[in-house]
Symmetry: C2
Subunit: 259 residues, 2 copies
C-alpha cells in the first residue's frame, strides 16, 4: 500500500497549520539534518487547498522542508521548481512541503488508526520516511505541487546514484516508490487519509540516473471510499513516456484498525 | 522496470564463477563496507543452477555478500536463513548472494546493453544497488534462495526503520522494491538478462517495521521472450498474506538498446 500517503498527511497538515517550529539539533544519526547548506531555503508554509481531514500523526513533527532546492539539484530540477512556484503565485497550484518526519514522545495522535501505537513507540523513535531516508543528492530528490481544481498532483523528481538498478538507470523499485508517493499525495489531498489498495505499473523505458522526470497524477474517479487514480512519468520536454500507472486507494475510516 | 534483475545478474555470475576477490578498503563514502562485524560471514560461492547467461556487467565487482546474517537480523530472520541454508545442502535450493556493487574502470562488459556507457562512467562510479544503499539494519535486510526445479525464488526480508510509510509500517514503495527485486531474480535465474515490463501489486495488509516476511515468487508461464511471474508476501507463520503481485518480464536481446 502506498503508506507514504499517510506520512504525507503531515506535509498537508503543515500546509494548513501555523509554521514556525524550528528544526531540532542533530544529536544522533537518527536526527534530521540541521545544516541545510547554501542551497537550502526555509519557506513559510501557506494555507493549502486540502478538502480531506489530513491531521498530523504526530505533535512533534520536525519542520525541515526537504522539497526545496539544494545543491544537488541540477538545472532542469531548478527550472521546473521555479516554474511551478510561479504557477503557485495565483493560488491555482500549491507547493507541498515534505519532511523526514520523526516521531518523538507523543503517539496520541496516531492511536486512532494505529491501536498498537504503544508497542511501536521504540520503532517510531528511529523511523524515517522512506523516500527521505537517503542523504541529500544520493537518493530521492523531489518536490510536489497540487492543483485542487483539477485534482492533479505533479512531482518533479531527480533520482540519485543510490537508486540504481541496471547500470546507469533507476531501479524499478525506486520508480514504484515515487509513483506510490505521488499518487498517495494526490489521494490524500483529495479526501484525507487513504491507503493504496492496488498499484499497476507499466514500465516503458528506463530512466537514467541523475535525470529529471515529471510525474503527473490525477484522481480519475471516486466511488464511496474508493479512489481511482492514474499517473505517467515523462521527460522534462514531455516527449518521452517512461512509465504509466493506475491505482486504487481506499479512504480510511477512523475506526479502521491497521493491525 | 525491475532493473534490479540486471544487477542481480552480478550475483548470479558470482555463483557460477570463482570466488576469492577480496573486498577493497573503504576509502570514501561510496565504498562498500569492509568491516562486516561479528555477525557477518564470508561464504565461498558455489556453482549455481543458472540456465540463462547471467554475465557480470563489471569486471571489478566488489565481492562482499550482504545477504548473510548480521547483528541487525532478528531471530525470525536467522531461523529462516538457517532453514533455507539447510535445504540448500542437497542442492535443491541455492542461496543467492547479493552485493552493493561498484563499477570502477571497465565498462566494456556493459556496452552490449548500454551503448552510452561512456557517458555513464561518472554516474556508475558513484552508483549503488538501490536495495543495498541503506546502512546495515536501517533499510532492506534480505536473503534470497532459488529452487531451480520449481522455478521459484524465495526472499526472506526484514524491513528497517528507514523504510517507513505510515507510522510503524513499511512504505508501499519499499514493499514494491522487494517484490520487484525478488521477481527480477526469479526471472533472471530462469532466462538470463530480463527486465520488468509491468508490475501489478495488491496490498492487503500493512507490514510492521522490523518484522520479517517471506516473499514467494515463481515463473508461471514463458512465451518466447515473455515471462509471466507472480509472488505473494506472507508472515513467517504463513497465516497472514500481506501482498500479492503479478508481473511481466521481457528477456533482453543482446542487440537491445536501453537508451
Amino acid at each position: 500500500m502506498l503508506r507514504s500517503c499517510v506520512s504525507l498527511l503531515r506535509t498537508l497538515a503543515v500546509l494548513r497549520g501555523p509554521p514556525g517550529v524550528a528544526p531540532l539539533p542533530a544529536k544522533d544519526p537518527w536526527s534530521p539534518r540541521v545544516n541545510p547548506g547554501p542551497g537550502r531555503r526555509e519557506r513559510a508554509a501557506k494555507p493549502g487547498c486540502v478538502r480531506g481531514d489530513p491531521r498530523s500523526f504526530s505533535s512533534e513533527v520536525i519542520h525541515m522542508d526537504l522539497s526545496l532546492p539544494n545543491p544537488s539539484w541540477n538545472e532542469d530540477m531548478r527550472l521546473l521548481f521555479d516554474q511551478f512556484m510561479k504557477k503557485s503565485e495565483d493560488g491555482s497550484w500549491k507547493h507541498l512541503p515534505s519532511y523526514k518526519s520523526k516521531f518523538t514522545q507523543r503517539t496520541e495522535d496516531i492511536k486512532i488508526y494505529f491501536p498498537d501505537a504503544k508497542l511501536m513507540k521504540e520503532k517510531l523513535s528511529q523511523a524515517q520516511l522512506f523516500p527521505r531516508s537517503l542523504e541529500e543528492g544520493l537518493g530521492f530528490e523531489y518536490a510536489m505541487f497540487h492543483n485542487c481544481v483539477e485534482d492533479r498532483t505533479v512531482c518533479i523528481f531527480q533520482g540519485g546514484p543510490y537508486l540504481q538498478g541496471a547500470p546507469g538507470f533507476l531501479h524499478g523499485g525506486a520508480i514504484a516508490t515515487m509513483i506510490d508517493a505521488t499518487l498517495g499525495t494526490c489521494a490524500v489531498v483529495a479526501v484525507g487519509i487513504a491507503m493504496t489498495a492496488s498499484l499497476n505499473i507499466s514500465f516503458k523505458r528506463p530512466i537514467p540516473l541523475g535525470s529529471v522526470v515529471v510525474i503527473n497524477s490525477q484522481v480519475d474517479k471516486v466511488e464511496g471510499r474508493k479512489l481511482f487514480l492514474s499517473c505517467n512519468i515523462r521527460s522534462v520536454d514531455e516527449k518521452t513516456v517512461y512509465s504509466e500507472a493506475t491505482s486504487l486507494f481506499v479512504k480510511l475510516d477512523p475506526k479502521t484498525r491497521l493491525t
